[in-house]
């Protein structure tokens, strides 16, 4: 029970709340005290009052309960039969802000490498962290009305543009003075990986965005320290003023609202959040269920869209060719997203964001409930969770005493199919969509008219009634039915009842009767009393789609697509007997030999082995090799392979953007590939930090990683880095010549050394001095460069022409480090002795040539000359297709230049292992090494042979017979889904993006130079 004192204080607070705006005309002093009584009140997700009263004074809830003493003077609104819910909150909108202007790309424009600088802004045009969006807020009456109809009373808003998007605000959805609507002028920062409208090149890739975010937080830290030191000691170089960076420094422990476009990027963002120690709330894509367990493990909150796709187009067998299993699954599974996350106990809120039609919001949430989502969680996701996210849990989100009077009046449980939102109140100001005291005329009635006993049936929605009149077995539909708050009028053509012409009716409801008038065709008016004989029973929605929904015919796998798995293969205990074993060791090729694989490792190699409990595989006529290793691959990478914008980008990391969903992982393991080095493309002299992976199909991004490897980095020389083949507009970035490549590399190596000495000098200072000295800025680019110069990160350098190969070796020698591997190195044969003397290894493509000028001297004998001179030589693919045939490619060295088969197989096993510095663990068949093996049906070098089984970590990841079963399973599941789609009667769609379908995987090439973000944004704008 609320104390009288409190009530008094509240009343004082509001009446004394004279605000700054001077009145124009007569002052308004209408009392605002209402009691909504007899309603079922859902106070919060966990508390419901079956019948009670809600008292509202001056926009605030002053009392709520089953037995409330209604204050004197209150206007009482009888809500018998109605349910009151707390007003919903949408935490992710652009409400009240102008649309983002997007400039469409012009292909002949020169690339813009530097930012357009205005004011004290960031070097990067995608950083708007200093934006305070409330400054541009204008209420949008039409949009507010649309949201209010859905029960949404408050929203958090900022413009969805850029990586750091600035501070949002929280506002009520009402009209009136903006100043009185804003609940929180400076709410969360919004952010994403997408650079949005920025025309600046960097970043053009997902890995670039991640690197930029990392660096920006370091910059923010430096900025604070630098200015602090400068204040203490102005006798040093003045630090710059940079408002976006300063704004990032002020985030502290606040959460950032982080939007991603797919569930893998959500996990990437979650990982980044942990790394930066900045909490994120994630705005999802609708695919979260595919990684529900992983999201649960992060413990972070997700904002869920309830955009569900229309079925993929399968009307004809021809259309269906463009539809894959993943699409069909998404269509079936998307409405279960929230349900699956609830099962994993992920905390989430709902948003209208991404909905094709905002009006489908509640409809789609109800669909989630039919899929098993609890009403309690659904309500929390609409109220308390978003209120907490916005930091306004004490103001909004429940109907507890003291909170703002934001509520919804609904005719029944809001989560059932036919429920209607009658009204939504914001700060007590109620907006009716259906009069809250609307009389419900619906039901079955009997009446007497012109000597006949008629039956009247009224159904439909409460304010849009349909109905019919019956006389024995004859019936006629009602026309022109209009239900106002308390009067119902309609007409009917009663010819078949023996009353020719149109009769008009006007009735009121009086207890269980309808009382009124009928005006017969002859204009005779007859008093009318219709007696209620039965209630209105809503007809359940029994569309084919709803029925079909009950039975799910698809599976959720990882990846959630064709060939996906539900679990990783178990650790095998296998004895391969009597095979020809290509050891890639000094033992060479052993005939009739056994290999025992246990506990993930190669346990024994020898003749006549036995092992208890081991499954025996007959290796007669089979050949066994170590797993194939590819030094140069671009599979399993998301969001572009090149951040080829700045001249050097070693701050970017392939390991940040692994894509465990790439079908080429599956295809690699079918080809006996067990390790791949994933490299950045070749668009700039220093690219990203590389990532070595094993193609463990079904593992997460982190699960793909080859643990504890020596860091490596991609470098590149030649035509690509000097942009020779990119078109005439690409002539503004240094370097444009091989001379320039050397010079700029020298410059960055030198800078890295100087960076090191700057830090040494700073670190040598005493604590007091440090405080007064501006520290060197932590620069992830130079730090990564320093790792190269210090020989701790190993170089894999894309190169063709021998002059550039020689150049890099000499430059490295000048700085005292070694080039680990020249990759492609098509003219390595011209400098084989020099390579050997430097200590570089070589990884080449075999017989590709003449596709560009710098490979005009590539020869297929390259490998032999280098191998003969003692250079560790391997063969790489640079292609998901060729990557499946590396052993066949190795055989070409047997053909073209007489290499021994033993050496040829080493070029795809132990030699690349040496180059990746993992030869102590993989690359040969030797007891103690990882159980990475391939069983071939013949000589592995022969064109007639193929892999039958691939072991990774002693697990059978590929078995040719299991694959056959998977093919059948795909067909069966697809067939069932296509049938379901065909019989569902729902409309089909080809607009993949808007429907939330995943983008197609792209097979990246070294030379791809997309602006990934611009492409994304244009696609989103036009599709």
């Amino acid at each position: 029970m609320i104390s009288r004192l409190m009530l008094l204080l509240l009343a004082l607070a509001t009446s004394l709340g004279a605000q700054t705006t001077p009145p124009f005309g007569i002052r308004t002093k209408t009392p605002d005290l209402k009691a909504y009584s007899n309603a079922r009140i859902v106070v919060s997700p966990t508390q419901t009052i079956p019948s009670g009263t809600l008292v509202v004074r001056d926009g605030r809830i002053v009392d709520v309960g089953a037995h409330v003493q209604i204050p004197a003077g209150a206007v009482i609104v009888d809500l018998k039969g109605k349910t009151i819910y707390p007003g919903f909150v949408d935490p992710y909108t652009q409400y009240g802000l102008p649309e983002v202007e997007r400039q469409m790309r012009q292909s002949d424009r020169r690339p813009q490498y530097e930012a357009v600088r205005t004011g004290a802004d960031s070097w990067n045009d995608a950083n708007h962290a200093d934006k305070i969006w409330v400054n541009q807020f204008t209420p949008d009456a039409a949009k507010a009305a649309e949201l209010l109809r859905l029960g949404i009373t408050a929203v958090q808003s900022a413009k969805f543009d850029g990586i750091f998007r600035g501070r949002s605000y929280v506002t009520l959805l009402d009209t009136g003075l903006t100043n009185e609507l804003i609940l929180k002028p400076q709410s969360m920062h919004f952010a994403s990986f997408n650079k949005g409208s920025s025309e600046q090149q960097y970043p053009t890739s997902l890995m670039g965005s991640i690197a930029l975010i990392r660096q920006s937080f370091l910059d923010a830290d430096w900025y604070r320290k630098a200015h602090a030191a400068y204040r203490l000691n102005p006798n040093q170089r003045m630090p710059e003023v940079n408002l976006p960076i300063a704004a990032l420094g002020q985030i502290g422990n606040e959460s950032i609202m982080f939007e991603t476009d797919d569930e893998l990027s959500l996990l990437r963002a979650a990982k980044l959040s942990t790394e930066l120690r900045v909490p994120f709330v994630h705005v999802g894509s609708g695919h979260e269920y595919e990684v529900a367990k992983e999201i649960a493990a992060t413990g972070q909150t997700v904002i869920l869209t309830v955009n569900y796709p229309r079925a993929p187009e399968v009307k004809t067998a021809e259309d269906e060719l463009d539809v894959n299993l993943a699409d069909l699954r998404y269509w079936e599974q998307a409405p279960s997203n929230a349900t699956m996350l609830e099962q994993e106990k992920v905390r989430f809120a709902f948003t209208t964001y991404r909905l094709k039609e905002t009006r489908d919001y509640l409809k789609n949430i109800r669909q989630a409930i039919r899929r098993g989502l609890s009403e309690q969680t659904a309500l929390a996701a609409l109220t308390t969770v978003p209120a907490q996210i916005c930091g306004l849990a004490s103001e909004i989100g429940t109907l507890e005493r003291g909170k703002l009077a934001n509520f919804i009046v609904c005719d029944t449980n809001i989560f059932v199919e036919h429920a209607r939102v009658f009204a939504t109140a914001v700060k007590g100001r109620i907006r009716e969509f259906v009069p809250v005291e609307q009389v419900d005329f619906r039901g079955e009635y009997s009446l007497h008219l012109a000597g006949k006993d008629l039956f009247l049936s009224l159904k439909g929605a409460i304010d849009t009634i349909k109905g019919e009149l019956k006389l024995a077995d004859k019936k006629t539909d009602l026309e022109s039915v209009v239900a106002t708050r308390d009067e119902l009028t309609f007409s009917a053509k009663l010819d078949s009842f023996g009353i020719p012409g149109i009769t008009r009716f006007s009735v009121h409801r009086d207890a269980d009767q309808l009382v009124g008038m009928a005006s017969l065709p002859d204009l005779q008016r007859h008093a009318l009393v219709a007696t209620r004989t039965g209630p209105f029973v809503p007809t359940p929605d029994t569309s084919a789609h709803e029925r079909a929904e009950a039975v799910m015919v698809s599976k959720v796998t990882f990846p959630n697509k064709g060939y996906g798995v539900t679990e990783l293969p178990p650790v095998a205990n296998v004895l391969i007997k009597n095979a020809t074993v290509w050891t890639s060791e000094s033992e060479g090729i052993l005939s009739e030999t056994d290999v025992l694989v246990q506990n993930g490792k190669i346990a024994k190699v020898g003749k006549g082995l036995t092992a208890t409990g081991a499954t025996v595989i007959d290796g007669t006529d089979k050949h066994v090799t170590a797993g194939v290793i590819d030094e140069h691959s671009h599979i399993a990478i998301s969001g572009d392979v090149n951040e080829g914008t700045m001249v050097t980008t070693p701050e970017t990391r392939i390991g940040d953007v692994l894509n465990p969903d790439d079908i080429n992982i599956y295809r690699a393991m079918t080809a006996g590939v067990t390790t791949l080095q994933l490299l950045h493309g070749s668009a700039n002299p220093i690219g990203a930090q590389a990532q070595i992976v094993k193609p463990r199909w079904g593992a997460s991004a982190e699960g793909l990683k080859f643990a504890n490897t020596t860091p490596s980095v991609k470098m590149a020389l030649g035509e690509n880095v000097k942009q020779s083949n990119w078109g005439a507009q690409y002539t503004v970035r240094y370097p444009q010549s091989r001379m320039g490549v050397e010079t700029i590399l020298k410059d960055v190596f030198q800078a890295a050394r100087e960076y090191e000495s700057d830090w040494k000098a700073y670190n040598a200072l005493g604590a007091k001095e440090k405080e007064r000295t501006i520290p060197p800025r932590r620069d992830l680019n130079l730090e990564a460069t320093l790792e190269i110069v210090s020989d701790r990160t190993r170089i894999h350098c894309h190169s063709y022409v021998y002059t550039e190969i020689l150049m890099l070796m000499r430059l490295a020698e000048e700085f005292g480090f070694t080039v680990q591997t020249f990759t492609h190195v098509t003219e390595g044969y011209k400098v084989a002795d020099e390579l050997k003397a430097h200590g570089a290894s070589a990884s080449s493509i075999v017989d590709w040539w003449a596709y560009k000028f710098e490979v005009y001297d590539a020869i297929p004998g390259n490998m032999c000359i280098m191998n003969n001179r003692g250079v560790v030589t391997s063969i790489n693919s640079d292609s998901p297709e060729l990557g499946r045939r590396l052993a066949h490619e190795a055989a070409k060295s047997v053909m073209y230049c007489g290499m021994s088969p033993e050496d040829a197989i080493k070029m795809v096993t132990i030699n690349p292992a040496i180059q990746l510095k993992i030869d102590d663990r993989v690359g040969s068949i030797k007891a103690g090494k990882d159980g990475d093996l391939v069983i071939w049906n013949g000589d592995p070098l022969s064109i007639y042979s193929k892999p039958e089984m691939t072991f990774i970590d002693g697990r059978i990841y590929f078995d040719i017979n299991t694959d056959l079963k998977a093919r059948v399973a795909i067909q069966v599941e697809k067939a069932a889904l296509v049938q379901k789609a065909l019989s569902s009667g729902v409309r089909e769609s080809r607009r993949r993006w808007r429907e939330g379908y995943k983008p197609l995987d792209r097979e990246w090439e070294c030379e791809d130079i997309f602006d990934y973000w611009k492409e994304q944004n244009e696609y989103h704008a036009t599709h």
Binding site: E318, T670, Y856, I865, R885, K946
Partner: protein, 434 residues
């Protein structure tokens, strides 16, 4: 920036005019040559171990277990080696493309939708450095096909040893080439056009093809009525398709494209050959019914569709062979033309028998291109266009061409790659240890 590997280059390097290989074309056969004791892969008549083969004046004159060398004959002992007909590559751009990214060295593409009047051999460069690297692998004849959109032009069948296009031409005009418009909706972020726009484009392209052939037919009809009508070079080039003298090779991979293309060929009454054909196996009944052969695109490619079997591309030749279709292999490129036998070999690991594989790079393409009287098998009367290999040519492990003859002319098997190999194998740089 979109995928721009093939965009215009700033610097135009005139490589093709600067590059000419140094290998002198073989002289016309002046004396009979007897290959003694080889294992003959005749293709037409099985494998003949320990059999002699005699050719004279550029033609095979005798095949027998033992042949007495005629007077003045050169006798070459090929005991233990395999003799094959020269391999025929069913589609290449050899002689038209020297260095892919160097615009000035490329003569494969013309602008516009209708280039029926182009002929590949006009630009074919017998001096291309690529040619010797291809023939030294035993690929002696290539169909050279113009690129471009829609109606690309007419292909020429060229042998890979000649001074001029006249020497090198086996058949100056083989077929009219056309690319069937795309049918698959690609709704991906790198695709600029929406699904609706793509559908519209597809319909427009189909209509455009229809109009082209209707106009060509109108010209053909008018020409029959009055041979003196003004000459339109494009329609003129298309005349022989209506009399079925000139086949039309249509590039199509997707089942729907193939289906549409076949219907189109029937409607307009021309002889169709399918090229590409990744989903030909899905349309095999239709192709068989209409007697349409297939030039199979490189099978060393990724599966077309996400859910496809990982080895589907490799299995295509086996699948269409099983369906009874006639087919040959093509490499569809310039420098990679030398990998033709390995395309065939690879298919053998995935369901194709070796005999059919060999036929698909020899006699089948000869039949498809109408030169089976001269090429494609070891038969008396055919041209002595043949190779000798130390082992099975389909597998790089055993492949090793030791001799090659084109119409009896001895082909120089040296090439730029072997020369560079020799040069740098001889380079020894003493470098003091680091």
């Amino acid at each position: 920036m979109r995928h721009i590997r093939h965009l215009l280059m700033l610097v135009v390097l005139l490589v093709s005019t600067g590059a000419a290989h140094d290998y002198i074309p073989g002289a016309k056969q002046s004396a009979p040559i007897l290959l003694k004791g080889g294992t003959l892969y005749t293709v037409s008549g099985g494998v003949l171990p320990n059999t002699d083969l005699l050719f004279d004046n550029g033609r095979i004159t005798q095949i027998a277990p033992t042949i007495t060398p005629p007077n003045g004959a050169e006798v070459i002992d090929v005991t233990g080696q395999y003799v094959y007909p020269g391999m025929i590559n069913g589609q290449t751009q050899i002689g038209l493309v020297e260095v892919g990214s160097v615009r000035g060295s490329n003569d494969n593409n013309e602008i516009g939708r209708n280039n029926a009047d182009l002929r590949a051999w006009v630009a074919y460069n017998p001096d291309s450095e690529i040619i010797p690297t291809v023939r030294s692998n035993g690929v002696l004849t290539c169909l050279v096909v113009p690129g471009g959109a829609l109606l690309q032009g007419r292909s020429s069948l060229m042998n890979l040893d000649g001074w001029t296009r006249e020497d090198a031409a086996e058949k100056p005009v083989v077929a009219l080439h056309m690319t069937w418009p795309a049918v698959a909706i690609v709704d991906a972020w790198w695709m600029e056009k929406s699904a609706e726009e793509q559908k519209k484009d597809m319909d427009e392209n189909r209509a455009a093809i229809g109009r082209l052939f209707e106009d060509a037919r109108a010209y053909w009809l008018a020409k029959q009525a009055d041979p003196r009508i003004k000459i339109d070079s494009r329609w003129e080039a298309m005349l022989p398709i209506f009399t079925r003298e000139l086949p039309v090779i249509i590039y199509a991979d997707d089942y729907r494209q193939i289906d549409e293309a076949v219907a189109f060929s029937k409607k307009h009454g021309f002889r169709m050959i399918l090229s590409g054909g990744k989903e030909a196996w899905k349309a095999s009944e239709l192709l068989k019914l209409n007697d349409i052969p297939v030039v199979v695109a490189p099978t060393t490619s990724l599966p077309m569709r996400h859910d496809d079997d990982y080895d589907l591309a490799y299995r295509i030749p086996g699948l269409i062979a099983k369906a009874g279709l006639k087919f040959c292999f093509g490499t569809f490129d310039s420098w990679s033309a030398r990998n033709l036998p390995f395309q065939a070999g690879n298919a053998c690991a995935y369901g194709l028998d070796k005999e059919t594989a060999l036929r698909a790079i020899t006699l089948s393409p000869a039949e498809i291109f109408g030169v089976e009287k001269d090429l494609g098998s070891l038969d008396v009367g055919k041209k002595a266009t043949l190779i000798v290999s130390k082992g099975d040519i389909l597998d790089p492990l055993t492949h090793g061409v030791t001799l090659a003859f084109i119409e009896g002319r001895k082909v120089d098997l040296d090439n730029k790659h072997k020369e560079l190999y020799r040069k740098y194998d001889a380079k020894h740089t003493e470098i003091p240890g680091k």
